[in-house]
């Protein structure tokens, strides 16, 4: 199918052949042109002119606690996505994961920089982070070490990324202006990561439905780490009950579409 619609000017993206679409969105070229749109001109993930808002000691402590968890989550995603490149089943997935590694490295860097703004150094991160999240990270890396592609993609790009996506979205609505801008850039990257995970696993499950039961076991094992972390983060951020439910719902919807009970 031609990219050019003769009846109206320009490209009609929805007429693309599925293979052409798949090739395009898994390319470094696509990644570069996408991130250029929302990251150029930013410094450490936000506009330089954005003014720092005054915070009480309590608000600052809460934000530091949350950012420490974000740093652990991003470190887990950085180490997992880089480890997954070696066991990815095809070139398109390897290239996509290489772009994800760059994204996760940037996320870790901007969150650490934000912690630095608040007077907290990198050495504090693990000490302040949620024990459940640290256990989740350890287990995720074990899945990569065991070369279990489906389980590791499920743990990282579906469970971890959908939780991060939902938490960042809700946090960005009420965050101070600098943190909100940092989060907005990260959320835009996360759309690609959750989409990759869901679509990759969806294709795997369509050709090997028996994998669903195994992933159900992985979910059972990892779910409580994720939900404990969510509860702790929601407490730090002061999410009302309905917002906490919304965050949980986004995660359950994603797992539900894949039919992983």
């Amino acid at each position: 199918m031609s990219l050019h619609d003769e009846r109206l000017p320009g490209v009609e993206i929805h007429d693309l052949d599925p293979e052409a679409f798949y090739e395009q969105v898994h390319s470094f070229e696509f990644w570069f042109e996408s991130v250029e749109g929302y990251l150029s001109g930013l410094s450490w993930g936000h506009r330089e002119q954005t003014v720092e808002q005054e915070m009480s000691d309590e608000e600052r402590e809460q934000l530091v606690g949350v950012l420490c968890n974000y740093c652990v989550g991003e470190t887990a995603a950085l180490e997992t996505s880089s480890g997954l490149i070696a066991i990815a089943p095809n070139r398109a997935s390897k290239v996509f994961l290489a772009t994800q590694v760059a994204d996760e490295g940037r996320h870790l860097e901007v969150f650490l920089h934000r912690l630095g703004d608040l007077g907290v150094g990198e050495a504090e991160v693990e000490r302040r982070a949620s024990p459940s999240l640290l256990r989740f990270k350890k287990r995720l890396l074990e899945l990569v070490d065991s070369r279990d592609w489906e389980a590791a993609i499920f743990g990282q790009n579906v469970i971890l990324e959908s939780l991060e996506f939902a938490v960042f979205r809700n946090h960005s609505r009420d965050a101070d202006p600098v943190t909100a801008e940092v989060l907005e850039g990260v959320i835009k990257d996360e759309r690609r990561h959750i989409g990759f995970g869901e679509n990759e696993l969806g294709r795997c499950l369509a050709s090997a439905p028996q994998t669903r039961a195994r992933l159900g076991q992985v979910r059972k094992e990892l779910d409580h780490y994720v939900l404990d972390t969510l509860e702790e983060t929601a407490r730090h951020l002061g999410f009302p009950r309905d917002e906490q439910d919304e965050v949980g719902r986004l995660y359950r919807e994603s797992v539900g579409r894949l039919g992983i009970a």
Partner: protein
């Protein structure tokens, strides 16, 4: 955000009575420039979708087409790299389902 401009369907096309749209800039910046007009930010539950729009269930971005959408149409969500099929819900609204 610039509103889309409906256009009459050209004669002799198999789109029949489908309304056509010239897509305007929405300020969406998450995909390469030439594709940005096909997407816009979703403003939440009060956001009303036009006949050429559908919500991506994966990443919650509004997907737009130059044609009025109908059940069975294929659309792509470039921000999350998903292929979707348009369906009609029991409530009569259009929604997109992921096609793996």
């Amino acid at each position: 955000m610039m509103a889309d401009t409906p256009q009459p369907a050209p004669d002799g096309t198999d789109d029949g009575e489908r309304q056509r749209f010239v897509l305007g800039d929405t300020g969406f910046d998450e995909v390469p420039k030439k594709y940005r007009r096909f997407y816009r930010k979703w403003e939440g539950p009060g956001d009303v979708l036009a006949p050429n729009e559908v919500l991506c269930p994966v990443c919650k971005v509004v997907i737009r087409s130059t044609r009025e959408l109908r059940p069975g149409d294929r659309v792509y969500c470039m921000p999350c790299m998903s292929r979707l099929v348009v369906m009609r819900t029991d409530a009569g609204t259009l929604e997109a389902r992921v096609a793996y």
